[in-house]
Structures are given as structure tokens and as C-alpha cells.
């Protein structure tokens, strides 16, 4: 076992892990941050997307020891401490950007990474960026609409709900 230390959602976190422990396992099983989901476990679906040092990564395809010393952000750190949703989360609620909700943590984290680099994406930019985030409920339209709305753009012309 190896001790790893990292900052998760602004707080110091540490634990003992095996070499094979995935970052998502460490988050879920050691830190009880179960908002980050394991969908496919093969880096296809994106339900496990978190930010490591500000970059979106699939936490099912990174070892916990590789995140030693890193700044990690997960879905649990997105809302304000009093529970107020952040802009992206609120837009997902307003535009019905989720149904079952399983993919949503990854969608929100990917959206946050996109808007950090590209604050006013086109609809095509959003759709392209979500290549690695699979949703089996919504057909994506309302997710795209939510992300466009979160970027402060008019969403009236995007496909109807």
C-alpha cells in the first residue's frame, strides 16, 4: 500500500491505496464521494469525469497514485456549501438536461471544462466536446441546451424539448 495525498474540492485528502487502485475508486470508496459514477469502466462513457489540475480526465482510467499531490475537483464541489447549484447545474435543472441522472456528474464536469476554455461555444462545439460523455436518456438536446444557456447564450433556436 502507498499513501497518497491530494486536494479534493479544496480540502486535503489522503489514504492508503494499492498500485492498481483507480482514482474513481479512491474518490468513491476511500473518500465516500460517490457522486462520481462508474458507468462503463472502459473509458467510453464519461460518467466518471473529474478535473485533475484543472483538466477533465476519466477517473476510471487513471491510477490514484498518479493523482498524488494533484488538485482534484468532483461534482460534490460544484454547488455552493449551502447547496445552491452553480450556473451549469442550475441550467441542467432549468432545461431538463437530465432524466435518470446517471451520466449527469460527468456531463456537468465536462461542461465546466469546456466553458473554462471556450466560454461562448457554438452548438457544434458543445456537441463535439461531449464526444466522450454518453447519455442513454435525453437524446442530448436538452444537455446541449443547458450548456449553451449556462454560457449565457440564447437557446431559443436549439431543437425543441
Amino acid at each position: 500500500m502507498t499513501e497518497v495525498k491530494m486536494t479534493v474540492n479544496g480540502k486535503a485528502a489522503s489514504g492508503n491505496v494499492e498500485g492498481r487502485t483507480l482514482l474513481v475508486q479512491f474518490l468513491r470508496e476511500n473518500l465516500n464521494l460517490t457522486g462520481t459514477h462508474v458507468g462503463c469502466d472502459t473509458s467510453q462513457c464519461g460518467a466518471c469525469v473529474v478535473h485533475v489540475n484543472g483538466e477533465a480526465v476519466k477517473s476510471c482510467t487513471m491510477l490514484a497514485v498518479e493523482a498524488n499531490g494533484a488538485e482534484v475537483a468532483t461534482i460534490e464541489g460544484q454547488a455552493a456549501p449551502d447547496g445552491t447549484l452553480n450556473t451549469i447545474q442550475q441550467a441542467f435543472q432549468d432545461h431538463h438536461g437530465l432524466q435518470c441522472g446517471f451520466c449527469t456528474p460527468g456531463m456537468v464536469m465536462s461542461a465546466a471544462a469546456l466553458l473554462k476554455d471556450n466560454p461562448k461555444p457554438t452548438e457544434a462545439d458543445v456537441r463535439h466536446y461531449l464526444d466522450g460523455n454518453i447519455c442513454r436518456c435525453t437524446g442530448y438536446h436538452n444537455i446541449v441546451k443547458a450548456i449553451m444557456a449556462a454560457s449565457g447564450q440564447d437557446v431559443g433556436t436549439i431543437a425543441a424539448e
Binding site: 502507498t2 494499492e18 498500485g19 492498481r20 483507480l22 469502466d41 472502459t42 473509458s43 467510453q44 464519461g46 469525469v49 483538466e55 477533465a56 480526465v57 476519466k58 482510467t61 487513471m62 491510477l63 497514485v65 498518479e66 498524488n68 465536462s110 471544462a113 469546456l114 466536446y129 464526444d131 466522450g132 460523455n133
Partner: protein
């Protein structure tokens, strides 16, 4: 996945030393290797992560004007940083996998793995790039030996890839939409001394140069010059996504489109 020790070297020398341990396996971004370990298709005792080696990261130019990309440089960095110098290579990097995969996966990992459907081998071979390891320099023409086979020796790692910059180039990729790998993709690079055409995703022997297309394009650099050419389908991959004949056909179509994109 079976358990293993993880070594986290910070220099190439430390990595080479760690790879001397029994059943050691280097890992760069891990975007192919971690799924492989999960499937128990590999079971090393020691995993040597190359991610923390600063001297293997980043993009620069050497005195010969070549573009030098460190082996541990991510696809996202290549996509963001080489666009001005070598747009076709930046475009290739920007279309690998998805954004999260591009933030971890590296050029060195892709070139060392030599997946028969990977994007980078086509870019490296078509560019006539040089693969630099911890102890030698290998020309791309001598480096790719077959499906998942390269000239790398046990414990040897790709520290850098050096690209001569062509006059014009284009990477045309027909996506296999579930995996994001190319079903067939073609990289055409036009240099002052000739055209190089590399094909990935098609052959059972991995990436290859399509010499008939190169000859035709050297005589006449125009999409029509390759319109009548048929790639040899006998050693093409046949799987549930497409037959060998289909991949041979796509090879021609992708080549024609790549040339048309260059000539406008």
C-alpha cells in the same frame, strides 16, 4: 486487474532503471494500457509511469527546423501548440478519442503501442519522422514493424518524436463511431522531395505506406491521380465493422479526399 507496484520516476534515467525490474511495463497516459490491464490482457509486476518526467514533455524546434514533441506530451497539448507549424498534425491530435482522453493520452504511448488503428502512427510514418528513444534514433520507416510491433527493445522508451515539416499535409479519418478510432485513415504529406502516404486502421500488418499512391502523386499531385488506384485488399483487416474489401476501398477514398483537401 491484478495488482502491481507503481514506480513514478521523474527523469528518463530513473525510468530506465525502474524498467530493469522484473516484469516491468512502462505506462504513459494509460488510456490504452489501463483498459488492457482491467481486461487482464497484461499483468505486469511493476508499472513505470512516465507521466511525471518533465524532460519528456512539451513541444520545441531543433536546429534543423524539425518539430520535436516529447514522448509524454498529451494529445491536447499537441493539438493546442503545433497548429501554426504543422496544422495537419494538430488536427490529427485534436481528433483522437475525446477531450478527457486527449488530456491523458500521449504521443509516445501511441507510437510505442502501435495499435493498427491508432492515429499517430499514420502521422509519424507519413511525415518520415524520427522516433527518439532513451538510447537511439529510429527512422519511422524502420520503426513500425507490424500490428502492435515496433523496433523498441525491452525496457526502451520513446522519449521524443521529431517531425520534418512538409509543404502541405492532411489527415483524413473515417471514424469508427463507437471506439473513436479510425476505421481507415490516411495521412498525406507533401515534401519538396516527394509525397508520402501512410494508411492506418486498414492492414493486418499495422500502419503502412501506400507506395502506388505515392508514385501517382509524385507524377501528378491531384486527387484525380489516385482516383483509379485500388489498394490491395488481401491483407486488410476484416471484422464486424467492415470487410477487408471495404477497408481497401476506403483507403482509396480517404487518400483522394486528403489530396483534395490539400489542393483545394
Amino acid at each position: 486487474m491484478y495488482n502491481f507496484d507503481v514506480e513514478m520516476p521523474t527523469t528518463i534515467a530513473e525510468a530506465v532503471k525502474a524498467l530493469g525490474r522484473e516484469e516491468a511495463q512502462p505506462m504513459s497516459g494509460g488510456q490504452t494500457l489501463i483498459p488492457t490491464l482491467k481486461a487482464r490482457l497484461a499483468a505486469p509486476s511493476v508499472l513505470v509511469s512516465l507521466h511525471g518526467i518533465a524532460e519528456m514533455k512539451g513541444v520545441c524546434n531543433n536546429d534543423a527546423g524539425q518539430l520535436c514533441i516529447g514522448g509524454a506530451t498529451t494529445h491536447a497539448t499537441v493539438a493546442a501548440e503545433v497548429g501554426t507549424q504543422y496544422p495537419a498534425l494538430a488536427s490529427l491530435a485534436a481528433r483522437i478519442g475525446d477531450p478527457a482522453v486527449r488530456n491523458r493520452g500521449t504521443i509516445g504511448g501511441s507510437v510505442a503501442n502501435n495499435d493498427p488503428s491508432a492515429c499517430y502512427p499514420a502521422g509519424v510514418l507519413a511525415s518520415g519522422a524520427t522516433v527518439v528513444t532513451n538510447n537511439r534514433e529510429i527512422a519511422a520507416d524502420d520503426y513500425f514493424l507490424g500490428m502492435f510491433e515496433t523496433a523498441l527493445e525491452e525496457g526502451e522508451i520513446v522519449t521524443e518524436v521529431r517531425f520534418p515539416i512538409p509543404e502541405a499535409a492532411h489527415y483524413e479519418k473515417h471514424l469508427q463511431p463507437a471506439s473513436r478510432f479510425p476505421l481507415v485513415a490516411v495521412f498525406v504529406a507533401k515534401f519538396a522531395d516527394g509525397v508520402r502516404v501512410a494508411v492506418t486502421g486498414a492492414s493486418e500488418n499495422g500502419v503502412f505506406r501506400w507506395t502506388e499512391a505515392e508514385e501517382a502523386l509524385n507524377a501528378n499531385f491531384n486527387a484525380e491521380a489516385v482516383a483509379g488506384l485500388k489498394a490491395d485488399g488481401s491483407a486488410m483487416i476484416s471484422d464486424l465493422h467492415g470487410t477487408g474489401a471495404y477497408r481497401a476501398h476506403l483507403t482509396g477514398v480517404m487518400t483522394k479526399r486528403a489530396v483534395a483537401a490539400i489542393t483545394g
